[in-house]
């Protein structure tokens, strides 16, 4: 009796941010092992931040990720403000939400149009897609640009903005600076509704997973910067209790740390978790768009994340319009505070999921200890679970098609591997 091993290697996964790999072994039609590895070189942020000033944390941690720098800036300033017992409210809080709306729009549209949709339609890239559907790709690029324009107007530039600081901003934008955003946002609003309709028609693999979804939850708002950490399996904790509920492990195949819920295991952060745990907090426009796309108030098919990203894009656009409409220039660009020793925790909802920061500061505000838990590290085990299910459902596919399907499964998570390391190789072995 001969044993058949199938093996497919993809050493550098495409259309993800950073460097990762996948290794799969199938022996006689049975899935033996699935590994999603991250080999992005370690950059040691948590180590070299020791001894640096709390003031530098938003600028330094932004450099963990060029796609979601605002998320790093927000989680870090909230952690520092927690250590200083400082609350930033009012217009400055609105401005933080506005710049985060910009990052959600830019990052979600990048993923929906340029990284994910080509998988559903069988194109190698959005540039190939643009050959047949130029107007669709141009719509995406214009939407992405408006997200970047918001970040640039409030933050100075789209990648590694320079205006976010502990206590608020270095300079608050003027009404006149924000006003030109409105016309493009109104166009983008219609474009976002068209985007939801467009992605709702894509052929969705039928996969339902029993995820433990984890996201932030705020009493009145769809979560960005504030709230408790909740799950659909009973978790409900303050951000400061993160390390009581979650544990990070270091395994051989990865330069990222794996996170699990203590004594339960893998969990899932990102748009699907936010949507399912906070559906009633979505704006009516976003809920309507979701219903017309055929979604219910909960969604457990990871492939449908593309629809939820489109819905969240509409949410962010309407939120941005509302903030700009009500904007009055604040009397001060940042709130004064007193530096003191202590520990601070901060979490915010990056486009690809919850991002937790913790810092211990000395009396001068120098960082003694830093802990950063990015969304993709938290999703790593869940991605492996999905790969196993999709692999088992598609063993009859020839290797190139199966490889592509598995890549698409990973891209459902918009993985940011630069973040998670603080990289992806796809390698399928069949026996």
């Amino acid at each position: 009796m001969t044993s058949e091993t199938r093996r497919i290697d993809v050493d550098y996964l495409a259309r993800v941010e950073g460097e990762g790999e996948m290794h799969v072994t199938v022996v006689d039609g049975v899935v033996e092992d699935v590994e999603f590895g991250i080999f992005e070189p370690p950059r040691y942020f948590e180590a070299f931040m020791r001894g640096r000033s709390y003031r530098e944390a938003p600028d330094i941690t932004a450099r963990i990720c060029g796609i979601c720098p605002i998320a790093y800036q927000m989680s870090s300033v909230h952690a520092m403000e927690d250590a200083f017992d400082l609350t930033v409210g009012g217009t400055l809080r609105d401005l933080r939400r506005l710049i985060y709306c910009g990052e959600w729009i830019e990052s979600h549209v990048l993923h929906v149009y340029m990284l994910h949709a080509p998988d559903f339609l069988g194109y190698e890239s959005a540039i190939h897609l643009a050959g047949d559907f130029p107007d669709v790709v141009k719509r995406g690029l214009r939407m992405k640009k408006i997200g970047n324009s918001i970040v640039t107007t409030v933050g100075g530039r789209e990648i590694h903005p320079i205006n976010v600081r502990v206590g608020g901003f270095y300079r608050a934008p003027t009404k006149a600076e924000l006003a030109p955003l409105v016309e493009e946002l109104q166009w983008a609003r219609d474009a976002a509704i068209e985007t939801v309709e467009w992605v709702a028609q894509l052929e969705m693999p039928k996969v339902e997973q029993d995820f433990e979804y984890v996201s932030m939850s705020h009493p009145d708002e769809y979560p960005f910067n504030e709230g408790r950490l909740v799950s659909n399996k009973g978790l409900d904790i303050a951000v400061s209790e993160f390390n009581d509920a979650f544990v990070e492990d270091h395994v051989e195949r990865s330069n990222a740390l794996h996170s699990t819920v203590r004594e339960r295991g893998a969990y899932h952060v990102g748009p699907l978790a936010r949507y399912t745990l906070n559906f009633e907090k979505l704006r009516p426009s976003a809920r309507d768009a979701a219903f017309s796309a055929g979604l219910g108030p909960a969604c457990f098919n990871p492939f449908q994340s593309i629809i939820v990203r489109a819905v969240e894009t509409l949410q962010a656009i309407d939120e941005a319009l509302e903030i700009i409409d009500g904007y009055e220039e604040p009397a001060q660009s940042h709130i004064p505070y007193e530096v003191k020793a202590g520990e601070g925790h901060g979490a915010s909802e990056a486009p690809r999921g919850m991002l937790y920061h913790r810092y211990v500061l000395d009396p001068e505000g120098l960082i003694e200890d830093a802990q950063i838990v990015p969304p993709t590290a938290q999703n790593q085990l869940t991605i492996e679970d999905d790969l196993r299910v999709v692999l088992e459902d598609n063993l009859d596919l020839p290797d190139p098609d199966l490889t592509w399907k598995l890549e698409q499964t990973i891209r459902n998570y918009d993985p940011c591997i630069s973040c998670a390391t603080h990289f992806l190789r796809l390698n399928i072995e069949r026996s």
Partner: protein, 272 residues
């Protein structure tokens, strides 16, 4: 087959990533108005962040983001050089080692044990170094992140066979052009603008903060004069060291300045 013929004659562009945040290659995707024109003018033959398609080299222009931090990457960059007619390195990581070059002053094993429970799984070099330490490069485009306008200029220049028009003067020139009042003279805010290369458009002073040097040292910067000025503003030597040791810490003029001030710290025993 008109399409295939067109592809065959277009110059081939490749984009590579080493240790970095992805932000500089994202700048190409962020050039929303120019992206489809660029895709029309060149054949984007190898750009993994954007496409599954990988057309084998050689390439006419390769853009390289990131620094060299692992034994594997130190070998990989030689292969990239061998396949590339012009090698253009982009961003502070590729031109200066990036923020991760802060390890160069420390023992990397102690860093590994701070971040990772099982240091034996981690393979890394003692230093984070720029691409030019490993292979000859044809152009270095500065910035953390790079300016997308400068990126388009550099790609266009190499395709047209000319030198890129990238100024090497300081941020101060851009502040004057923009009409921003000097934050150091006016508000007494410490600013690295006088020693930092232009390219950002003098952003930070326009947002009421001092430049923090993300485009790296200008041509022939006078770091000693700046150091004295900062001291007069009451900045501690410890903070001056940290200011030079950020995203372009390992760029020679900034490295020398930080080492000089740090030596002074050690000599005088001042540990502010």
């Amino acid at each position: 087959m008109a399409h295939a013929a067109a592809v065959a004659t277009k110059p081939k562009l490749a984009v590579y990533k080493f240790a970095s945040c992805d932000g500089c290659q994202l700048s190409l995707l962020d050039a929303e108005d120019a992206l489809l024109d660029v895709a029309g003018a060149v054949h984007i033959a190898n750009f993994l962040e954007a496409s599954r398609e990988v057309v084998p080299g050689p390439y006419d222009v390769s853009l390289v983001e990131g620094s060299i931090t692992t034994p594997h990457d130190a070998e990989r960059i030689k292969q990239v050089r061998a396949e590339s007619k012009f090698l253009v390195v982009i961003g502070a990581c590729a031109t200066a080692g990036g923020i991760q070059a802060l390890r160069n002053w420390k023992d990397v094993d102690s860093f590994t044990s701070i971040v990772y429970a099982n240091p034996q799984y981690i393979e890394t070099l003692q230093t984070s170094t720029p691409i030019s330490y490993h292979v000859p490069v044809d152009f270095e485009l500065r910035g953390c992140p790079i300016s997308k306008e400068q990126l388009i200029e550099v790609v266009a220049a190499f395709l047209q066979g000319r030198r890129p028009n990238i100024p090497t003067y300081s941020v101060c020139v851009e502040c004057k052009a923009r009409g921003t009042a000097c934050v150091m003279v006016g508000a007494g805010t410490p600013c690295l603008g006088p020693v930092t290369q232009a390219g950002c458009g003098a952003l930070c002073p326009a947002y009421d903060r001092g430049c923090y040097g993300c485009f790296g040292p200008m041509e022939s910067p006078n770091t000693e004069a700046l150091e004295m000025w900062w001291r007069e503003l009451g900045v501690s030597d410890r903070d001056i060291v940290d200011a030079f040791r950020s995203f372009n810490a390992w760029a020679e003029p900034f490295r020398e300045a930080s080492d000089r001030v740090e030596a002074r710290l050690t000599v005088t025993g001042v540990t502010e």
